[in-house]
């Protein structure tokens, strides 16, 4: 069996007495697109923040391509090839869409401290190509602060792709979007992922999106993985149904 891209073992995190993440373990194979679902407060965002370095775990181990990344600073983890998006869109508001991507590209090429040339002429083609890929080329010169919400989500995706990541972590990529737009964005994400043979781990509340995209689903409840398998298996799992009982999203 080939070595998994990501190997998570017994990751734990408590806030005061609340065990937000309570011993999560799983393997993620290369090229996989996996959803991490669970009711509000299940620990999904906490877990993502631990993976990407925003939060320090209380214990456990995370190996990425066989190397430990748990406890590293976010910028180090990104440089290893793990990229992420945020639940609440995170872009650079006063920078143009092009500059948003350029900052990430310059960071990737190791030029973020360069002084001798104006940034304007650098990384133009690659940055524009990324904007093109997410369908934002016509918005390149507009400041991120004035972009429509859906466009911000796309911009964030473009930023996240700037380091040619191998692993993409998407925290509720369609949160706050109109239902019609959600499908389109996730279809775009999935096609980019396949094209670049990316490995994707995403959290999502919209079950339509989850079942349309994910090859495999994990269910987090009270900080623990209570189910892990193919979509149909997970859907049929009695424990999962109990957790979601009454949640409208599950009626699909």
């Amino acid at each position: 069996m080939p070595e998994p891209l990501l190997r998570v073992r017994d990751v734990r995190k408590a806030f005061g007495g609340v065990r937000a993440v309570d011993g999560v373990s799983f393997d993620l194979a290369r090229g996989e697109i996996r959803a991490l679902i669970g009711p509000n407060g299940a620990g999904k965002s906490t877990f993502f923040n631990i993976l990407a370095g925003q939060l320090r775990a209380d214990g456990g181990a995370v190996a990425y391509r066989g190397e430990q990344i748990l406890g590293l600073a976010p910028y180090v983890i990104w440089r290893r090839g793990v990229s992420r998006t945020f639940q609440i869109t995170a872009t650079f508001a006063t920078l143009s869409a092009l500059e948003n991507v350029r900052v990430a590209r310059l960071s990737h090429t190791g030029d973020s401290r360069m002084l001798r040339r104006p940034a304007d002429g650098l990384e133009v083609e690659r940055s524009l190509a990324l904007l093109e890929q997410v369908g934002l080329a016509d918005q390149a010169v507009r400041p991120a602060g004035v972009l429509a919400y859906g466009d911000l989500k796309k911009l964030e995706l473009a930023i996240a792709l700037a380091n040619d990541p191998e692993l993409l972590l998407l925290d509720e990529p369609t949160a706050g979007m109109a239902p019609a737009e959600r499908g389109a964005l996730m279809a775009l994400t999935a096609s980019i992922a396949r094209e670049r043979t990316l490995t994707v781990l995403f959290t999502e509340h919209d079950m339509d999106v989850v079942f349309a995209i994910a090859g495999r689903i994990m269910v987090l409840h009270q900080g623990r993985v209570i189910a892990d398998g193919a979509p149909d298996e997970v859907r049929a799992d009695p424990e999962v149904q109990a957790v979601y009982l009454g949640e409208e999203a599950w009626t699909t």
Partner: protein, 610 residues
């Protein structure tokens, strides 16, 4: 040191601590609930002291006059606080912190000149407190009775505050608001009234502190600034927003002050700031404070608009004028221009920090002053040639910036500002008290340019080269990937970190670069004036470039030189026609914050777009 002397020092430290506690608890309370860092708090304290002086003299109540005057003065100042909160502060609760700070700083200037206007600038000796005027023997030494009374009063005030916070509904709301403002708002509490009442109580406490200080010390025009720095130290050390913390820290600082004078008289000024710096580094949220729920990096939301670019032909025209015009100007005007150039570079170097990096420094005077002293010390002690000394200025400032910047960039917005202030004050205290080397407050004199550069025009062109060149280099830095990355980190720190950017490293480098150019400005300035004084490192010198950057417009580097020019011209003109320059400056600041938050270039830019 005899035990009785130790006891006496301890008691006098405690008496001072009680006054400090009154002021600092009000300051801390206001910050805790409204998140406003109120510079004008010391001005309220001063105002109450002067009011007490006048009321005691005019109230026809005989010996009781003083005891009526104290609460009356404190209440009047509380009322003044009400006016300030309702008329001014209420408009800026949602504005970036920097604008709130500038607004309260404007009040400091206005109140200072107001006090000067009504009471004059001579020191006044206040009345003694009737019945508590003498001294009592304590362990064989005499100790002022009034100070003993203060020591007794302190715990009473603390107990009253405790009752207020833990036994009244209003107190519960205040404690809740200190912990989670948004939640309290959601619960349907009238925030406006809560904020106003807290501000009034805080102002009242400052007033009480000022009124009670009258029998202890002469009234001076500068008692506002001396107390406010001390109160800030207490608030930061105790934990911003924590009243028990203020009590603890007031005692610590008061006692350190009292013994510092005894043990290390020459380092007494510096000790308090060393304590604050250490606390900020080890425990940024203070002894009894809580860490902020969402820690931020040094950057902050100061700039909310996209960068603004000045068209190239305009720049070329300005540069051409600066080269061609001076030979036909009167000498005095040429000297004014040199001063403007130095401050333009000083302000531009701060712009890299606060505009591009979003890091508001309250201690940028450190770079200017350390540059100036660096050059002056080279001339005085190493007999270095002028150009060597000038080159040493930015290097000295950059090396120091590297040292203290390393700690500063670890802190978030307001704590960052406070730590830069602390380091600037430490530098100030060192040059002020290290007579043998720096000449203390006599400064260092005779720091003149080489003979061939001493003429007005020759020195002007040197300044144009050093400062103009410096600004041009800063422009390159801001446009380079490094500047773009700093802006990204300012706009959204977590996002920047997750695109592989080591934010602290970038901010530290920016701090060093800003220090370098601030030092170059200081070096250019010192050879213009021929002397250097500790004032170059004092708080007003840190505030001036802040005002210049905002006046010109924080969204563009070009705003800094524009702001410097307008500010210096106003200063030159206004001081010729009025003794109340601070009042004028304060009024300008209030206008800037409330009406033109985007500065001159912002206004011009809007016009052109429209």
């Amino acid at each position: 040191m005899s035990p009785s002397l130790i006891l006496i020092q301890l008691l006098s430290g405690l008496a001072h601590a009680m006054v400090l506690f009154l002021i600092a608890s009000g300051l801390s309370l206001i910050f805790g609930v409204t998140r406003i860092v109120n510079f004008a708090h010391g001005s309220f304290y001063m105002l109450a002291a002067y009011l007490t002086y006048t009321l005691t003299a005019t109230l026809p109540l005989g010996v009781a006059a003083f005891y009526v005057a104290v609460p009356l003065a404190a209440a009047s100042v509380g009322l003044a606080g009400l006016g300030v909160e309702v008329v001014l502060l209420r408009r800026v609760y949602r504005a970036p912190e920097l604008y709130q700070l500038l607004l309260t700083f404007a009040l400091v200037l206005v109140i200072a000149d107001g006090v000067k206007f009504f009471w004059g600038s001579e020191n006044l000796t206040g009345p003694a407190a009737p019945g508590l005027a003498g001294s009592v023997p304590v362990a064989g030494q005499l100790f002022p009775t009034y100070d003993l009374a203060l020591i007794a009063l302190g715990p009473l005030v603390a107990a009253a505050l405790w009752w207020l916070f833990y036994r009244t509904r209003w107190g519960v709301l205040i404690r809740a608001a200190t912990q989670d403002r948004e939640m309290v708002a959601v619960l349907g509490v009238d925030q406006a009234r809560l904020f106003t009442s807290v501000f009034v109580l805080g102002s009242f406490l400052a007033g009480l502190g000022g009124a009670l200080q009258v029998p202890r010390q002469a009234l001076t025009n500068v008692m506002d600034t001396s107390i406010i720095t001390e109160a800030f130290v207490v608030v930061v050390v105790g934990g911003m927003g924590s009243v028990p913390g203020a009590l603890l820290a007031a005692v610590v600082i008061g006692v350190i002050d009292a013994f510092g004078v005894l043990v290390l008289p020459r380092a007494s000024l510096v000790m308090m700031f060393v304590v604050m710096a250490v606390i900020l580094i080890v425990r940024p949220w203070g002894l009894l404070g809580r860490p902020p729920a969402q820690p931020r990096t040094a950057g902050g939301a100061i700039v909310t608009a996209s960068a603004l670019r000045v068209p190239r032909p305009w720049m070329a025209a300005v540069v051409a004028l600066l080269i061609v015009v001076p030979p036909v100007l009167p000498t005095f005007h040429v000297w004014v221009l040199v001063e403007i150039l130095a401050f333009a570079l000083f302000a531009a170097s701060l712009h890299l920090l606060m505009g591009t990096g979003g890091m508001v420094s309250f201690g940028h005077a450190a770079s200017f002053g350390l540059g100036a002293y660096g050059a002056a010390l080279c001339v005085t002690w190493a007999k270095a040639p002028m150009l060597v000394a000038l080159a040493a200025a930015p290097l000295a400032a950059a090396v120091c910036a590297a040292l203290y910047g390393y700690f500063c960039v670890r802190l978030s917005s307001i704590y960052f500002a406070m730590l830069t202030l602390a380091f600037a004050q430490i530098a100030f205290a060192i040059v002020h008290q290290w007579y043998d080397v720096t000449g203390g407050d006599n400064g260092l004199l005779g720091i003149w340019p080489a003979p061939w550069l001493a003429g007005p025009l020759a020195y002007y062109y040197l300044a144009l080269a050093s400062c103009g060149g410096g600004i041009a280099l800063l422009a390159l830095v801001e446009r380079a990937p490094f500047g773009l990355t700093l802006r990204a980190a300012r706009d959204h720190a977590p996002r920047a970190e997750t695109v592989g950017i080591n934010i602290r490293l970038h901010q530290w480098l920016a701090f060093i670069v800003a220090g370098f150019f601030g030092g170059l400005a200081g070096g250019t300035f010192v050879f213009l004036k021929g002397s250097v004084f500790p004032d170059y490192l004092a708080v007003p010198m840190s505030v001036e470039p802040l005002v210049m950057v905002l006046l010109g417009g924080v969204q563009a580097l070009a705003g800094a030189p524009v702001g410097a020019a307008v500010y210096k011209l106003l200063d030159t003109v206004a001081t010729r026609y009025t003794d109340y320059w601070q009042l004028v400056l304060g009024a300008i600041l209030i206008l800037l914050v409330l009406v033109f938050p985007r500065g001159i270039l912002g206004v011009v830019g809007d016009r052109r777009r429209a």
